[in-house]
Symmetry: C2
Subunit: 356 residues, 2 copies
């Protein structure tokens, strides 16, 4: 792993609620389709799978937004389904449909056949990408590693792809909860190994993406999603090169359960745009930092209007430490790169006033 | 309109937080694809548009679930897009894709060309269906009329159909708010006329479906959705045949804004399954009745497990008036009718204990 000292530690400090001179900013899906240089590389790579599974290409994509914009973090370019893919489910991407598995997991027999992937073997391409990125970043900004949450991976594995109603996995949840728990435990063990391997390879912060936790009832969220994320967080290697490795937890649509999420052991919570950040801050009551939460659609407005929205988000969080500026969800493919630039510039310009 | 006295007024009483002997129950999308008799009639009708726009057929579909199950309400079988269709946008349904408009509304010029439909002319088929249904119901249970919220109709009109990211309408919201407000005002006036015409034709309660309010930020929800629903509610004819006509408001994904919704003038709020009903009840603090909120996916479990979930929902609301049992969203097409029957039977059996 690169031993170059970290030149910009704003992200790591803010995630641990330590004082900073301004609010750090990065963007979920910052490496992706809204950037022409990404689309060009994607076309050259031939397929999305080739792009994300070739360390040199994944490294190049990860660095693209960091080269273009004054961002305070890089996030590993990868897919949340690397673990199920490593389990042999046959991941493939259908244009316009998203991810699909050839071999979905729909009963106890199928769960029983699954093993925990060895990150150094089946997921080595991800770790190689992490090492390359760290070397290329040369300490410029920290690198965020990530994984899907156990529940979210289980959703894709049971449904066989993206879903609207989650009828299959919820059918399992209500009718065969023991089978689902077995799957979630296996995924929890896999994610712990995977994230610890990312940290050992150089990830300086990690994020758990619970994309589908928000489709559950409150009690099912605690039993089938949050509990397993807590188990993951409690077993992560939380130090690297003498610094703490902060953990960010993001449950899309989970604003209603914020108080429970603040007890998960995560250092920071990702907040979607439906909640006002000031309300979220009051509800978590100093227990965690907050990351978010500008409406991604605000990037369709003019640069002047974007600047206003940045000010609204900063003002809603208010003065003091513990805020990482981000969108409330991934950046939308149709957004103009200049509009992302306007947002990032506005954070640089407007946020110091909130740290005096 | 039918003058037969109402034999079962549990729904109307519960919506107004008056005491009842048990909790009334109906099911969002109770008339629909999970019923074989619906699928048969749908096939005979040739197209969904024909089915919903022929009063005799819409009446038959509306009555199907009421004949099969001991439900406490019928809900008009129609579509939330009748108003934009009446405005001449060219509504059509693409199999597997949902509704589409030939002429989406994307700028001030297109908004300027729209007029308020006269319910007695362009929407007469809906009112004829309401009158027929009331005659056929003969006072057995009350009939609920409905409309999409101004914001939800605007979403479909601007996007041209269903959407995942709502890039076009949110682009308009941030970049041309005045144009969007003009569209929302026009829709508000149209919905007031439409719902008042449904009430005059015989609807005994009405529901506003704000399917897409949940994609907004908190402040945008208040400015672009809630405010217009309040305007609708304040101008409804709230009495029919000597009884109050209760209004139910349902914003999918709106749990985070429940306190604001409780101030809307609605008598009851629909609650999706992400929030525990007991928490919702504490938050609205006696201002409104609550309708919901079993996870629709629980209907994939066994009848015994369904009964447990019914008990959980009843117990979460707790003792006393003001609860209408329902799912937290529309019933899923793949559900077995016997499972819906098990849920309804469990409400009949288990709820009296909460009304002693």
């Amino acid at each position: 792993m690169s031993n170059q000292p970290l030149k910009n530690d704003l992200l790591l400090r803010a995630l641990l609620r330590e004082p900073t001179s301004r609010t750090p900013v990065w963007v979920m899906r910052q490496a992706g389709r809204y950037l022409p240089e990404y689309r060009e590389l994607r076309a050259r790579a031939g397929s999305f799978i080739n792009l994300m599974s070739t360390p040199e290409l994944a490294c190049e994509v990860t660095l693209q937004p960091v080269k273009r914009f004054p961002l305070d973090a890089a996030i590993l370019f990868s897919d949340i389904l690397t673990i199920p893919a490593a389990m042999g489910l046959g991941l493939h991407f259908v244009e316009g449909e998203g991810p699909n598995f050839e071999h979905p997991v729909r009963d106890a027999a199928a769960v029983g056949k699954l093993g925990v992937p060895d990150p150094d073997m089946e997921l080595r391409y991800v770790l190689d990408a992490v090492r390359l990125i760290r070397a290329e970043l040369a300490g410029r900004v920290p690198l965020i590693g990530f994984a899907g949450s156990p529940w979210t991976l289980a959703c894709y594995m049971v449904e066989g792809g993206a879903s609207k109603e989650f009828a299959r996995i919820k059918g399992m949840l209500y009718a065969e909860p023991a089978c689902l728990h077995q799957l979630l435990e296996l995924l929890t063990r896999s994610i712990i190994l995977y994230l610890n391997a990312q940290i050992a390879a150089g990830a300086q912060a990690v994020m758990l993406f619970d994309t589908w936790g928000g489709v559950l009832t409150g009690s099912a969220y605690r039993e089938f999603s949050l509990r397993y994320m807590q188990a993951v967080i409690s077993q992560l290697q939380r130090e690297s090169q003498g610094r703490k490795v902060p953990v960010i937890l993001f449950t899309k649509g989970g604003s209603v359960w914020l108080e429970s999420m603040a007890e998960s052991g995560a250092d920071a919570l990702g907040i979607d745009w439906t909640l006002e950040l000031g309300d979220a801050r009051r509800r978590v009551n100093g227990k965690v930092a907050l990351q978010g939460n500008m409406d991604p659609a605000a990037l369709f407005a003019s640069p002047e209007r974007i600047r206003e929205e940045v000010q609204n988000v900063l003002h809603s969080y208010g003065k003091g430490a513990g805020h990482v500026f981000n969108l409330g969800h991934g950046i939308t493919p149709g957004v103009k790169p200049e509009h992302a630039a306007a947002m990032i510039a506005a954070v640089h310009e407007l946020s110091p006033a909130f740290h005096k």
